[in-house]
Symmetry: C2
Subunit: 121 residues, 2 copies
DNA sequence: CTGTATCCGCACCGATACTG
DNA sequence: CAGTATCGGTGCGGATACAG
């Protein structure tokens, strides 16, 4: 069985329409910082804003905020703000986010394993 | 076993460095059109330029060329030009590309399956 | 048919300053 | 600590014209 048959259910002719929900979600998920944030949270431990900034090296405050908002709206992660001073906010994956991350992890693992060979050529 | 442990091998502390081979390859693979092209070819059938344009709806000639070049340089796909008039060029996945696509397909299948629910909220 | 070359707008993104 | 507001540049990406 060809692996691509999994796609035939939703894209019978192999065509990916320009404006469809799948494209939108795909863009959110595969966005430059979206992947890294989902991966960082894939371990299960809730992470704070500053910790996420540290893990996804190079992300600006603006892009972190924007990405977190998008992923939150899509229901992939949960924002837990404790009413404290100073503020203490934790981000964690929702069940839906965990499903998604479970598919992202093998991808990233494969990439990490082959990246050097790929760029060496 | 947590699924994320697959990443611990390469990112022991869960930190994704700014400038590392993995980031570069990740950006290539998760690029707007890169994913769609890899998925279109994941079926195994070689596709021609014009057919790829049709499948990845909305892609411009410029971006198709650019994306194909990148994926080719990374060794994910093979360009087969037959010396004919008019030109006949076929693109297909390399073994490496097939490995990658095999990880991309379940991701896209999951997204296609949940996209409407996700955006409905 | 399969591209390449060029122009150019605008959206993305980073940097900075500021706030609760 | 955890963000928001604003500005400016830059490179992505679309449109068009052209070539082999």
């Amino acid at each position: 069985m060809k692996v691509s048959s999994q796609l035939r259910t939703h894209f019978p002719d192999g065509v990916f329409p320009a404006r469809c929900p799948s494209r939108t979600v795909l863009d959110h998920v595969t966005s430059k910082w979206g992947v890294l944030i989902l991966l960082a949270l894939s371990e299960g431990t809730p992470l704070r804003w500053s910790e996420l900034r540290r893990r996804a090296q190079g992300v600006s405050e603006k892009m972190l905020a924007q990405t977190l908002r998008t992923l939150d709206q899509d229901g992939f992660l949960h924002r837990d703000a404790r009413p404290e001073v100073p503020p203490h906010v934790e981000y964690s994956l929702t069940p839906r986010g965990e499903e998604l991350a479970a598919l992202l992890v093998p991808l990233m693992a494969w990439i990490a394993q082959h990246a050097e060979d790929i760029l060496a050529e």
